[in-house]
Symmetry: C3
Subunit: 188 residues, 3 copies
């Protein structure tokens, strides 16, 4: 390890150029207004209305999709929600990079899909994003954290309050911080 | 394990009948309005006013009870708060089933009493609820998660940020995810 | 361990005198109004405006400091934010005692700096506060909990969703609940 002081400021440097383009920033400002005015206050059952708004901003949204009113979505154009998928209330979908929620998969309340981090070994700590891929028939339960770059394969269940930093195999149940294999998911 | 694809959609199926009765849903809509209009904006010291509102919707509330304004309560008729108990700000009391908070017990900020889950081994993932029983003189500290069906016995302390998936013995201190025995709680 | 029942109420006793002075309470009421009316609704880029408000209430705020609009601050007069430091959105800075965020250090979204607890071995459970000292060039990542009395030394990184109950050495990466040493932080 070299002398850190030689590097100046290993933190978000306010003098550093933003990693996002001007167009990205402008469209996000508009999306934030739309979210606050039209998405967030909409009555719970109006999932089709919120699907319409997400599609308007470039999201790929299938049939029978349930995006709840208090779900935060950073950039709809990076979000794919397949048929029958659900993004519950009080979730945070920080889709700086692509986030896919597969068919009939559910992300439950308070869960946080965190699509970006910073390279803390670089003195300027640049933003590093990576896709989060959630397969079909997955259940991300309450208050789960998914790190950037993680793939959750089909049929997996992530237990409540887990933090997932590496890929989860298909039809497995994982839990804990960091999440570890608990058992196979068997259907009755 | 059988072939999952044989089961259709192991996720919240929007075509599935709701597990809640029409009456339950209607009363919750009314309660949500009352919570937003009268409970949530009430000044912090007006605990008696909020106790009155909870009782109006069927909660069993003792004397000197402190339900803070930003505490969310799913169905007051399933909630019992005994004398001197406290439900702090930013807690979530998801009482799909009965939740009891015993005498002089406190549930601190950001804690989540999660009274229901889904049977993920059943292809239709039906809702499964179970009571959460918190004894007397218990302290659920900040940002704790309590799973459905858990009993916290008298005098226990659950450390900050713990996740509790099994019963906690009386006068014990537990912590971690999952919460484990740390030490006996002794009084000076 | 003695018989707990002999102690009456080991919980926040509403009949117990508040540990805070009348002046402390009054100034916090005023600060809460200012926060709600002027700090919270201010547009994101107006960091200088929020720095001004924090200084007005006694915070020690350096140059180029970024306190985001939805960051909660319990008592600005106990907060020190040094040059280039950042308190992200949805953080909670519960500074009952002194909290310092050092030069170029960042506290990321959903993190909770918890400056007080209660002595649960005392029958009246009195409030116990202790300073949280965050050194220079530290990164507290997303949804981290820092317990009262903890010092995070220069250059440390606390991984996402960690809970920190003891001091963290300089230029180390820690993670987990409780947070443990993962590796040295080396700069490229």
């Amino acid at each position: 390890m070299q002398e850190p002081s030689a590097y100046g400021t290993p933190a978000y440097n306010p003098n550093q150029p933003s990693p996002h383009s001007l167009k990205n920033k402008l469209v996000r400002v508009i999306w934030n207004f739309v979210w606050l005015a039209l998405y967030r206050p909409s009555p719970k059952p109006l999932h089709k209305w919120r699907c319409f708004l997400l599609r308007l901003f470039g999201a790929k949204v299938g049939k029978g999709v349930h995006p709840y009113p208090s779900a935060k979505i950073w950039a709809p154009w990076n979000l794919e929600m397949d048929d029958g998928s659900c993004l519950a209330d009080n979730t945070d979908c920080y889709c700086v990079n692509k986030i896919r929620i597969g068919k009939n998969s559910t992300v439950s309340q308070y869960s946080y899909l965190c699509g970006a981090t910073h390279d803390y070994e670089h003195p300027l700590m640049p933003l590093v994003s990576a896709p989060i891929m959630i397969g079909d028939n997955v259940w991300i339960t309450a208050d789960v954290f998914i790190a950037p770059g993680v793939t959750i394969h089909d049929g997996a269940v992530v237990g409540a309050r887990s933090s997932v930093f590496s890929d989860v195999n298909a039809w497995c149940v994982v839990a804990g911080n960091p999440a570890k294999f608990i058992k196979k998911r068997t259907l009755k």
